[in-house]
Symmetry: D2
Subunit: 374 residues, 4 copies
């Protein structure tokens, strides 16, 4: 059918993100001219039944209840990890040791030290990695980065970033792994997206002052009792960027009413950008060069002028969806595996985010500014 | 791999909509639990080379430069027509005669008389049909229809519909088949979407007064000369609905700056809805039952509360894209083929739209109100 | 205190619009350098008590229960009519006969024939007149007109206008003078604003096709019974403009949820404008000259770049309110009285609106297109 | 004309805010039933000519180039100070010593110590004071406060406030008194508004961590050279409120493209509010009590349901302007002078804002959290 080389995928985990990955694999190879033909080889879930069901549902040829079988199977080229965060490290290290490429959902690992070990292992082994920060794959974010890099905003002075949702706003919601002191909390869970976008657009953050706050101090433990929660419900930071700009970010999972407030504003000497993920097919651009009396934020709608939008639709304004961003992520990753481009957001980048998160957490605990380790 | 029956697809046409269908087939069977396993059997394009390329790109097993081969191939169950409008009738009738299900892009045919012939043939033969009006597949439109049907807006009094884009705004753009007097024009091309949405929400339109206007009277013929254009650049109508409501629609392809202004407002005695396709993951709802001083249009964001959004994503606010609507269309169609549900938007529905379009055009030419034939 | 000539004002009526005029007089002479010092001389209301109260409240020196006293008082220069519509004609003609300038709230008169008589009388007597269409005084509408006139949108092709509110949406609301067959209805009451804006921006409308619909056929008569209503709840029209453009307007007073949807879109060959009175300190501008990939509707915020905004506030973005528009109207009118500029919107203009309204109503009744009498 | 007692006003300063005050006096006494008749007695400006011109333009009976004449004039009841910030203290203390009520534009004084002296003096003398924080007079902010106080949002957890403009974004703009190390900077100038709104809505802030950043280090001195700037262009803070809520604010005068971004979001356990001064006649309200699938931020438009909107206009959605907020401020202040209500925002409140500003500045300099002195 196709003379392309085959990339055989072993997927671990079949929840929210597992599904999103499968959707992404399916559409990526229709939408893009990938360097590989993707083959959904084996899916692993906790029980044989769940795994078999997922294989049928998603179109994997094989299934297993033992993720280690994926690692040891020489037919599989790429291990895709969408299992709970606490397992990322063990799975990834095993996969890397077996010489497999590793695609890991965010966070790379709950702790930066673990993420570092993973990144180092991948580098030593020479496999290609990807961490799932797919908001960055939005053509409008790429446009924003391009405009900033090209100087369309002039010199960048200020930044305000945000990722706020309300999925933890209900205090009667049970304690989950996301409340785990090791790696849990709003800053780690979604503030990390705000940090990723900030560095994607403006480059490295050099110094932070963190403020991590717990508002809901205990949650039902699912056994009729309650369990103390120590992680942050809101995690924010003042930021200094290496390029001289400054700003702030906030991660907030108790922002009642907000479902996807991944927003930013960038202020430069010649222009500004405003964005909200709530309307992520739009980028708002203010140019001081516009004629007096005619200035204003322009609502730029995603169109074929903003690659790779045109791969999905040849007409402007039709809009991409969340799952399409995953397809774009996959395209980049497969091209990196093929050696065509550098890793778009590999383990080193994932480690970087963990480091930012931890530095902010430490800063908050110490109540003082801290430099971000390189 | 799967024990589901197979539905073998033959696709004619590989342009904008051909691609969208392929994307839709790919994601529909990942996202939904379809009654069939879809198999991309054969693709037909104008030349053998184009067809072969498309087969490779899209993942069809076979290709051909002769669409009749698809019809005569007993292995193919469903003929998917995304070829130019003028060919729809011939292709569809041939497919129906061969006992195949037919999935046809809009418009069903340039003329209602032809559409009638097609609908009759399909009914006589008992095959299942679908016309591509995928804006209707948006969960937020389904929500709107459900709210109206449930009486959440009270008795419906008024409607304002619109579909405006600017892809024909440039007068130097060449004459195309869309300018063909038989079936061309803005009303037929996109006003048809506004009509489909109007009846989807409020039920049958009983009487119309049309106003079809040509603003760009000639266009380059592609051979260095110009060609006269007689079809409408703007087609609008006053409407009377069978349920007693009244309103208007407009189709406009020279609406400078607008890329996807498929909008509507519905006014009832107890509430109102406002929608724009520019932000199609939102529905705005005003309820007179809200407390005084607290009333206002609520921006409802698409979420798992609005099926089938949850099939794509378990979290609210993440948003569907245009291609996802196609997957929803395909899900409905395959379920209709399996006999689980009535045809969501079959040839009879497609004929209905053509009839509305033609009645409005005739009304405009006659400069008088006309009843819409049943 | 001031060496300016004095303009002595006699106000008839102290309701919604009467108050708005008084607020306007007060702020106009602070905000602008008017050619006159305005003196609130006498106010007339139905009873002596009401008139006295109003005089105290608003700061008039005198009061009366007989509006004819204002006319016969030689000290009064300007008669300001905010009484019910049915009285406009008698009051205005008396004032004109007495040689006074006349400021009359809209509509000039319920019937165009009456409006014509009033306009003719004013012209014959040489007094200066003003009809209250203060939405036109918005700096952003003036900007829109200026941009259109300067060709910033290229050649104008299309227009969509609207004035929708919901103050008559409740069917249990009583029958009022606004339901009077002579001059009542949504088209006359607020559709007239949509018409005024359309001609303000694009120039004369030459031909119309009307559609006036009654949805609420009877209303409480305030005496325990009901009274039949024959005027339109929704009045809309297709439009042809003398400049070759075409479009539509709608007036709607049962648009549930809408409080001030005085909106328009203008499409030209080089650009477009979009406006809503719901956010009337903004004008949205799309320019095809913007760079590819950077185009979008710009949200221009009212600022000192948009006269006379700067008279109210030297800083951009602070926003004018509805009453400020009245002050702008008054400034223009007093300058016209002083002979500095032509009447901004005198009785001839008011007559024009009545004529448009009546032509649309007649067209609707006849169910056919009608030319608009010059 | 009126039997109300007279309040004679002496105004110092005739710039932006001086004008706004005069507009406010004029409309306040038309719009409201004030306890006093306001008399514009004397205006003071720097030169006799400027003062005379202002008297004519604004309608003051007298003028002077010596502000001390206002203080010593026993006919004057109220001294209104809109002079440069550095003079506020001297003027106010003199006025208080003379037993006059004092209306002072913000900031009350560049330094909190001075503000304290002023507040103490006013208290000792028993005169009534007002500081101009008129954003707080917006009916939609009052609605927000009322909703919060009534528990409509449940328990308040989080806050995000902002006041961003771009009037200092141009680095070639000259050094002004706003850059003065004593009292200057973005935090003091407009961040103060964000702080005022935060406490207006949620009550006292108990602890802050500040971040004040200078981006434009020098500016033209107006004499051909440059002058070093040490005040902040952006001043932000993490906040802890006494009621247990937490949040952040930012003041930013180099936010390219932003003219009036005085925004906030408040998150409670049962609902949320979102507001932007860019559209200040709207308040967005999310209620978790709304039915599932029907939840969303409601765009509540200002209406007579939101006092004192109805004093300005009896119909909803017509909108107040910036100057109307000043009229509301004046109404409150005159009622406080009459003893009807407590001072809405007197010198004690003004001092409080200065104290917050200074604490944030100190915290920033010390790079550590600081409690806010009571």
């Amino acid at each position: 059918m196709s003379d392309k080389p085959v990339l055989r995928i072993g997927l671990i985990g079949t929840g929210f993100m597992g599904k999103a990955h499968v959707f992404g694999f399916a559409s990526a190879q229709k939408v893009f001219d990938l360097p590989y033909r993707l083959e959904l080889h084996t899916v692993a879930d906790i029980t044989p039944e769940a795994a078999t069901r997922a294989a049928h549902e998603f179109g994997f040829a094989h299934s297993t209840a033992d993720w280690r079988e994926l690692i040891s199977n020489p037919e599989i080229d790429l291990i895709d990890i969408t299992a709970p965060n606490a397992l990322h490290k063990e799975m990834a290290l095993a996969a890397i040791a077996a010489g497999k490429h590793v695609y890991c959902e965010k966070p790379l690992a709950p702790l930066a030290a673990d993420a570092r070990e993973m990144a180092d292992a991948a580098a030593a082994k020479g496999v290609k990695t990807q961490v799932g920060f797919n908001y960055l794959c939005n053509p409008m974010l790429r446009l924003a980065r391009e405009m900033i890099a090209a100087g369309e905003l002039g010199e960048i002075r200020g930044y305000r970033g945000l990722h706020a949702e309300d999925y933890m706003a209900d205090a009667s919601g049970p304690y989950t792994f996301r409340h785990d002191p090791a790696g849990g909390g709003a800053l780690a869970d979604i503030g990390s997206h705000a940090l990723a976008t900030a560095e994607f657009l403006l480059g490295p953050i050099s110094e932070v002052m963190g403020d991590c706050v717990t508002l809901i101090g205990e949650r039902p433990d699912g056994k009729g009792g309650t369990r103390k929660v120590s992680v942050d419900d809101v995690g924010r930071a003042f930021l200094r960027f290496a390029n001289g700009a400054q700003g702030s970010i906030e991660g907030n999972w108790i922002a009642t009413g907000r479902k996807m407030q991944h927003d930013f504003e960038v202020y430069g000497t010649r222009g500004a950008l405003a964005f909200t993920q709530e309307r992520f097919n739009e980028l708002h651009f203010y140019a001081t060069d516009d004629a007096p009396g005619r200035r204003g934020f322009r609502r730029i709608e995603a169109s074929p002028d903003h690659p790779p939008y045109g791969r999905f639709c040849v007409a402007p304004g039709h809009q991409l969806g969340f799952n399409d961003l995953k397809a774009i992520e996959i395209e980049g990753y497969t091209r990196a595996i093929a050696g065509e481009i550098p890793e778009p957001f590999g383990f080193v980048a994932g480690l970087r985010i963990q480091r930012l998160v931890e530095t902010i957490q430490k800063s908050s605990a110490a109540r003082q500014w801290l430099p971000v380790p390189a």
